[in-house]
Symmetry: C3
Subunit: 279 residues, 3 copies
């Protein structure tokens, strides 16, 4: 692992109307004053661990090596659920052991996973309702200050929700989860470019994709929003590599009636080099 | 007082859709480039000084000694209301003299209170509508740069709203203000753990609390959210030490019909060491 | 131009619920770790270049010399629209060549305008849908690290939307655009104090202003919110110098029915030194 960069990112379901996020940052700065603190998102739907895991996954990648990513969506705060620090080839991740780190970690080379138990690296008399401030933020700051992951507690061999490998998709029909909608109403589907067959010898992707929605089938594929014309919904890979449904200058979520957290059918169709399809 | 930490926190009713907060930060950085700027909350309801005072109080505590906390909820901007810098045992506070600092200051050891009058520490030609940018943010940055509070203006002996001491509560029934609801719909009441009788000789708190709500009485008490079961509302102390009403995975505010800013009846019941109550 | 300050401000229509802004900051920090990153606004209405241009204009001025201001409202991302870096007497501006920089630049002394084409200063394999992260944020960080604007690409002589000079207004009636409403419901009009006749010999402004709204004419003029009395709407110059319609403790936008993006009639009336009007 490279050295800590002194950068800490935050992903939570705390919102920004209350002072929770500021309190976390204060607790981190109380450990080390010269941290660089960056918000990934605090608008994860309350208690929605899966939605938080997706945001952490798509948000963490652009940061420099040595960044500490803290993620706190933690309905079990103050109970016996464990707290984790995970070291990977590029980053550290800090959060509750409830699967919030799962999606991000399947893309990283995991070096170690430790429980956070050593009270030396938390705030004194931690509140049973706010480990974000009293456990996770200080832990992240101590890691960013060079404390070794092993100093926090014992190694963990059975973390929650870290076993999902990315499934390779072959031609056929399958159910895909709607991961969420962004501010523009674009709908991300849990189908990543890396899980699809690679580009064929003629330079064109050797597949077509069709997505079912209540309002009809979507199959037009473009490379960026500005390439689309007309009012029909279209498909593209979003900036995190996931298949996305979009509409020109209106919300695909509103237009199509697809709901984050549900699934939809996707047809992956093999295409012959001559352009014909082979379902 | 310790030395300035170079950290400045911000609490306002400016929201984050407009550029007001960014303009304040720009003005602070124009004084000193290497400040660490942290948002506590900018979603204080517009002009609601009391709500801002509560957020500043609960938000400021986790920061390291030497932090400058700026709070601007300022319906009287540009009129003759005074601007203050307050030095305490741990922090500096900067804001209008309208009570916004009151709740935070009753927990701190006040060292000095000065008016901000010296134009040298503000922006030239200050806008009569935006002292956050032209007076308070630069003042905070100058304090964080080591300027003494006394250099800003004369000592003030009659600040607005600093006289509220925390009232100790004995068994009985009394009206308590609903301070606000957080993102999860948890309702904070203006009854702090520190104002209640301390733990008895048997280790259990020597009191029971019952809160009246339009939908019925709430008396179940837990130590953290994950300890609650069922659908009924329950009580706990929130991470700032205030009595809080919560519901499992739904909004207590919506479920109970209690409105921030109004009051509700709280019964504090003395409990005998044998577990019997003695109202 | 002065040296880079190491400060980068961000104005986008990305919102803060998603991780887009955090990803931009991560990409900037990957170039240079010790940047100071400040949000101006991320709540520009989606794809609304004009609204973004107004926020950048009013938000950028308080920052210290040498700040890099990045603005990304970019419906044409990934198409052939150009990307720009503009050097002015005080700042650098970075954004798409679609007019987003226009309003801010008319107030600055433009030194140079270059296209961003050199892939060395962007992220490898840039996403066609997210130049904010893969082109603009890294470019800003490189500028803040001392890379010269000319290293990014060829000089540009025909940028989009930079030709609007501020029109001086003489007495009479004219249409003025409603620029937007802030969090308090105050409505900003596209009529700047600098475009009006200067103060007369008697010290009073030699003009009266009357604004037409569906609910009637507004003509009361005050210098700050706290000076207004009663319930009627009033006029003042906002903290950016633009004519603003406000109401005491309620939203002028809701009360008056004026819609941002539309126009309204403004009468500028010459006033004699004796206080009489001369329309």
């Amino acid at each position: 692992m490279s050295n800590p960069s002194g950068i800490v990112s935050f992903t939570t379901d705390f919102g920004t109307a209350d002072t929770f996020v500021g309190e976390m940052k204060g607790a981190a700065l109380a450990v080390r004053r010269d941290l660089v603190l960056v918000d990934l998102s605090h608008d994860v739907p309350p208690h929605d661990v899966e939605a938080g895991a997706y945001r952490l996954e798509v948000g963490c990648g652009s940061f420099p090596d040595g960044t500490v990513h803290v993620a706190v969506v933690d309905p079990g705060v103050g109970t016996s659920r464990r707290a984790l620090v995970v070291e990977t080839g590029r980053f550290w991740f800090v959060g509750p052991d409830n699967g919030i780190l799962g999606r991000a970690l399947r893309r990283e080379e995991i070096r170690s996973i430790h429980a956070i138990e050593n009270p030396r690296y938390g705030r004194p008399s931690p509140s049973p309702t706010f480990h974000g401030r009293d456990v996770f933020a200080p832990a992240a700051a101590w890691i960013a200050s060079g404390v070794a992951a092993a100093d926090f507690g014992p190694a963990i061999r059975d973390p929650v929700g870290l076993d999902r490998s990315m499934e390779s998709r072959l031609p056929g029909a399958f159910e895909v989860r709607v991961l969420g909608a962004d501010r523009f109403g674009n709908l991300a589907l849990d189908l990543h470019r890396d899980a699809l067959p690679t580009v064929g010898e003629d330079g064109a992707p050797p597949w077509d994709v069709r997505v079912s929605a209540p309002s009809g089938e979507i199959h037009r594929f473009v490379s960026t929003y500005g390439d689309a014309t007309g009012d029909d919904p279209f498909l593209l890979f979003n900036s995190a590599g996931y298949l996305e449904i979009s509409c020109r200058e209106r919300s695909a979520q509103e237009a199509l009636g697809l709901i984050p957290g549900t699934t939809t059918m996707v047809d992956l169709i093999d295409r012959q080099p001559d352009g014909k399809e082979n379902a």
